[in-house]
Amino acid sequence: MSKGSFLNASVGRKFLMSITGLFLIMFLLVHMSINLLLIFDDSGDLFNIAAHFMATNPFIKIIEPVLALGFAIHILWSIIITIQNMRARPVKYLKSNQAVNSTWASRNMFILGAMLFVYIGIHLYNFWWKMKFAGDPLLEHITVMQAGVPVEMENAYALVATLFKESVIYDIVYIIGGVLLGLHVSHGFWSAFQTIGFNNHIWRKRLFVLAQVIGAIFAIGFSVIPLYFLIKF
């Protein structure tokens, strides 16, 4: 197989988008599950243990650069594809009534993606950057009893919870981010299966419904956390 021609072909490019997209969805499912621990234990112990596990697990260490690569490819290729697609129609329509034939999310995946990109930037600066490199006084080490053994770890809960408790603006940013993500996935999920060829007239409805469900889970799952802190504290 000539890799060059495949990755330059429209279907090949979309194939990369699909594979990276599905991979990112898997990551997000794990990420969301851990995040939800934030609202089930106000002491923060549960979340801290999980965060500590993720930070120290060797498998995660390997997966991290892969994840970064996944993001990079997904973003870069989306730009390439979008430019190519825009070039395909040099003169635009005066009047275009697309609302009758397609969903808003499906037509605006790049815009949704671009907004998510900004959101992820904010998100990385808020937490990942501080935990990994810059540090923050809130992250001061604490000792948590794990299976009867005291383990020392960063207080990630404090960093996250404080932000959400103290900043209404960030709460809103994160709620919006969750909704955007949900919309993006509500099209991206089934679209990915369509692109890799795993679809037919029977699976089509199932995948479409599943995509809406997963989109809704992401939207709710991610925004319920800031909402929780906004309402409770």
Partner: protein, 253 residues
């Protein structure tokens, strides 16, 4: 049935003298149109008026006027083939419009479909895609009996669903990316469902997709708009099959 007459409507039409000329919109008045008339008959009447006034009539493609030849190709009020489902422009009737309305008519817009004049576009790109592999390589004569290879009812029906494509280009026109994937998929999927076509399936999928890309069509982002605007309702499930055929072919290279 009572024949309702639209006393006056306005049509805002794209005028462009040739492929190199700059285009612009012009608005015309049309009077006394029966709602039972077809959309193209309304344009005939407008043209008759323009000719009599010494003006250049509006050029638009049309031929069979019964929805099967795929020649007519107007983007009416923001939709390929106008505001109705499962029809071509020639099957659109004036009862879909109201008294005093301004109807916007544009040609198919795609880089791969340059405007020839006014509302006529050049769809030679579709010809080139078909020439790249949209056939079974068999000469006349020397073929087996029609019943020699049984083809299941469901397979034949699904092949027919795809084969119903009339090559009008509404999919490209309506797609936000001007993608020709539904058009390519219809042919690839039809032949992939039939034993006669399977033999050269891999070559076909690769060649047709490569040609489509080369001609400057956009990529498919699965919005599904093409399927809803396709006059023959060709399903995007066929695009999934095209993707499958293409990926299978590429990965086995």
């Amino acid at each position: 049935m009572a024949d309702v007459i639209l006393k006056k409507i306005y049509v805002k039409v794209w005028r462009q003298n040739n492929v190199r000329a700059k285009g612009r919109f012009e608005t015309y008045e049309v009077e006394n149109i029966s709602q039972g008339s077809s959309f193209l008959e309304m344009l005939d009447i407008l043209n008759d008026k323009l000719i009599r006034e010494g003006k250049d009539p509006i050029a638009f493609d049309h031929d069979c006027r019964e929805g099967i030849c795929g020649t007519c190709s107007l983007y009416v009020n923001g939709r390929a083939h106008g505001p109705d489902r499962d029809i071509t422009t020639c099957q659109l009737h004036m009862r879909k419009f109201n008294e005093g309305e301004t109807i916007t008519i544009e040609p198919w817009r795609a880089g791969a479909f340059p405007v020839i004049k006014d509302l006529m576009v050049d769809r030679t790109a579709f010809e080139k895609i078909q020439q790249a592999g949209g056939f079974v390589s068999v000469n006349t004569g020397g073929v087996p009996d029609g019943n020699a290879i049984p083809i299941g009812y469901e397979d034949a029906e699904e092949a027919m669903d795809a084969a119903a494509c009339i090559g009008c280009g509404a999919c490209v026109a309506t797609c936000k990316n001007s993608s020709a994937m539904l058009f390519v998929a219809a042919k690839v999927s039809q032949l992939a469902k039939l034993p006669q076509g399977k033999v050269e399936g891999k070559r076909r999928a690769k060649a047709m997709v490569a040609k489509m890309d080369e001609l400057g069509f956009g990529g498919c982002t699965n919005t599904g708009a093409c399927e809803l605007e396709c006059p023959k309702g060709i399903s995007i499930s066929h695009i999934a099959r095209l993707n499958r055929e293409y990926l299978k072919a590429k990965f086995s290279d």
